[in-house]
């Protein structure tokens, strides 16, 4: 346990020193701030647009951080051979993988918290500077606590994406892992289309293949409740819980897979 925590701590320390995540967070904050200006140009819609853009910025830059640091985790370490000295220490390969994963998860949580705080700060400003008459037309209050639920699901999705990146990076190059991870992310969001592929192209083998891919790939659509939250549509707690449980199961399977691959491989 201690070894896993030590590896995670080192990952966190390394990524805190890296300039890339900072610039991503800075970019996200910039976009959230800019969305305030955009929302000023559109009468009545402002709060929805502001929230929409803010959550989208958090999701997109979070994804970039996850993929960027996620591929650095293992494949770069193998490619640059820094893994040699580490694995010669009293540390098993599975502890190494788990430590890497939790270190990145911690990095993500910290980065997303910063973005969320910036987001709430902008919302607070708008709330204070808008008069009560206009506010009455908003579908949800500016400082809606449900925004946090949307962010929590974004974090859960990114942890899943990280596990995917980690899995790929145990056996492929940094660039390839990044491309594969982004590919799975895109496919994961358009997963539902695969399920109903017959409707698009009614060729049996193709439809079966699409169905197989549908069951294999993670379904990322349920992690996106941004529209519901922004428009004040209720999201049942059971749905959120189910989505979180789905993420946990999928992550566990991916980590076990990553460990199984990593334990067997040669470092050349």
């Amino acid at each position: 346990m201690r070894s896993i925590a030590l590896v995670a701590q080192a990952v966190f320390k390394e990524s805190v020193r890296d300039r890339v995540p900072y610039s991503m967070v800075a970019f996200a904050v910039l976009i959230i701030a800019a969305s305030y200006l955009i929302s000023q140009l559109t009468a009545g819609q402002d709060m929805k647009i502001l929230k929409d853009l803010g959550l989208a910025a958090i999701a997109v830059f979070g994804l970039l951080i996850a993929v960027f640091i996620g591929i650095n985790l293992v494949s770069k370490e193998v490619e640059r051979r820094s893994v040699f000295a580490v694995l010669a220490k009293p540390l098993s390969r599975s502890q190494f993988i788990l430590g890497k994963y939790f270190g990145l998860a911690l990095t993500l949580v910290v980065n997303l918290s910063v973005m969320t705080l910036a987001f709430y700060a902008v919302l607070l400003y708008v709330d204070l500077t808008t008069d009560a008459l206009l506010k009455a037309a908003w579908p949800a209050p500016a400082l809606d606590p449900r925004l946090v639920i949307a962010v929590v699901l974004i974090v859960a999705e990114l942890m899943l994406v990280t596990a995917i990146a980690l899995f790929f990076s145990t056996f492929s190059s940094p660039l390839l892992s990044a491309l594969l991870t982004l590919g799975v992310w895109v496919a994961g969001h358009f997963n539902a289309d695969l399920r109903n592929f017959e409707a698009v192209l009614d060729v049996r083998p193709v439809a079966l293949l699409a169905r197989a891919v549908y069951y294999l790939l993670p379904n990322l659509a349920p992690f996106n409740i941004r529209a519901e939250v922004v428009h004040g549509v209720p999201v049942p707690a059971s749905q959120v819980a189910l989505t979180l449980a789905y993420a946990a199961v999928y992550i566990t399977i991916l980590l076990l897979g990553a460990i199984a691959v990593f334990r067997r491989r040669d470092f050349k």
Partner: protein, 316 residues
């Protein structure tokens, strides 16, 4: 109990993209290194030295054979606790400082708090990393990284250390420094297993050596057995050597080589008596600068055994 033991240790790599074929990088290596020995693992480029070290560190899995360290199978946690490893051309994390990296590793070895700090600062002192220890590794030169690599191999006061080309990238002072560190390790009873291309280092440090060529062990043994310290001849440096003196001695010497500033190196065969020769040269007006016996060196032995292995391979 042997500190390091391998039996028929072999490793095949798959080469070729479309139709992978196995390529034998290490062929049935059987070796035993006693506790407290300083063991030199020599061989030309591509001989399989790094492959062997990686097999011993379980960074590679063997195709065949076994390896044991301190009587236990490689990769065993308790073995790792007592060993140190310096990889070839080491690389660490760019954004950590040397101090942070070593304290991370020290804690992986189970050291804590003040103990870890003390140990880290003492190994960094040992390898000659001064105030730079607070800089990020990204700003380090090759030789400094090599020193950090050596420091991390010594963190746990290991009983066995594996060093893959410990002298590579070091300046002359650094090399001398590393030689001293290795001798200190030996005096402490630590087994040192190192690969090197620098034969003079091996000659100065090792009790035993093994020579590997094309994945096979071609020779091994105590230096005193390998090198009979047999006299191979004499090397004489003279000045003011006139042309006729040169012509007169030419048939009796192995070679005459002109050096800078009118000096010559003359190599005499072992049978020639240097006294008589010096006398004769003196009477012809030449002045002697130096006279040295030539003995067989590890380099000669290395060239012979590797050469023999290569010619067997090509069938010449």
């Amino acid at each position: 109990m042997a500190a390091i033991e391998t039996e028929d240790l072999s490793k095949d790599f798959l080469v070729g993209f479309w139709r992978p074929r196995p390529y034998r990088a290490l062929d049935r290596l059987t070796l035993s290194v006693g506790e407290g020995e300083v063991f030199g693992f020599l061989g030309p480029n591509g001989a399989g030295k790094s492959t062997t070290l990686k097999l011993l560190m379980q960074l590679l899995y063997p195709t065949g054979g076994t390896a044991r360290i301190l009587g236990r199978p490689v990769g065993d946690r308790s073995v790792k606790q007592r060993t140190g490893f310096l990889p070839e051309n080491p690389y660490f994390y760019d954004h950590l400082t040397a101090e942070e990296l070593l304290s991370y590793f020290a804690r992986l070895f189970g050291l804590r708090g003040a103990d870890a700090r003390r140990r880290v600062s003492s190994v960094l002192d040992d390898v000659g990393i001064g105030s730079e220890r607070r800089l990020r590794l990204r700003q380090y030169s090759k030789g400094m990284i090599q020193r950090v690599g050596l420091a991390q191999a010594l963190l746990n006061e290991p009983d066995v250390v594996f060093l893959d080309e410990p002298m590579s990238g070091l300046d002359p002072l650094g090399r001398r420094h590393v030689r001293q560190i290795m001798l200190r390790l030996r005096d402490r009873g630590c087994t040192v297993f190192f690969s090197s291309h620098i034969l003079s280092d091996a000659e100065a440090l090792c009790s035993r050596v093994a020579i590997l060529a094309q994945g096979r062990l071609v020779a091994s043994g105590h230096l005193s057995e390998i090198l009979a310290f047999e006299l191979r001849g004499w090397e004489l440096v003279v000045s003011h050597l006139s042309d006729e003196a040169r012509a007169a001695i030419a048939p009796r010497v192995r070679s005459i080589t002109a050096l800078a500033r009118g000096r010559f190196t003359i190599e005499l065969p072992a049978e020639e008596s240097p006294d008589r020769f010096l006398h004769e040269l003196g009477s012809r007006g030449a002045q002697v600068v130096s006279l040295n016996p030539l003995r067989e060196t590890l380099e000669d032995y290395f060239v012979q055994s590797v050469g023999a292995a290569e010619s067997r391979q090509t069938g010449l």
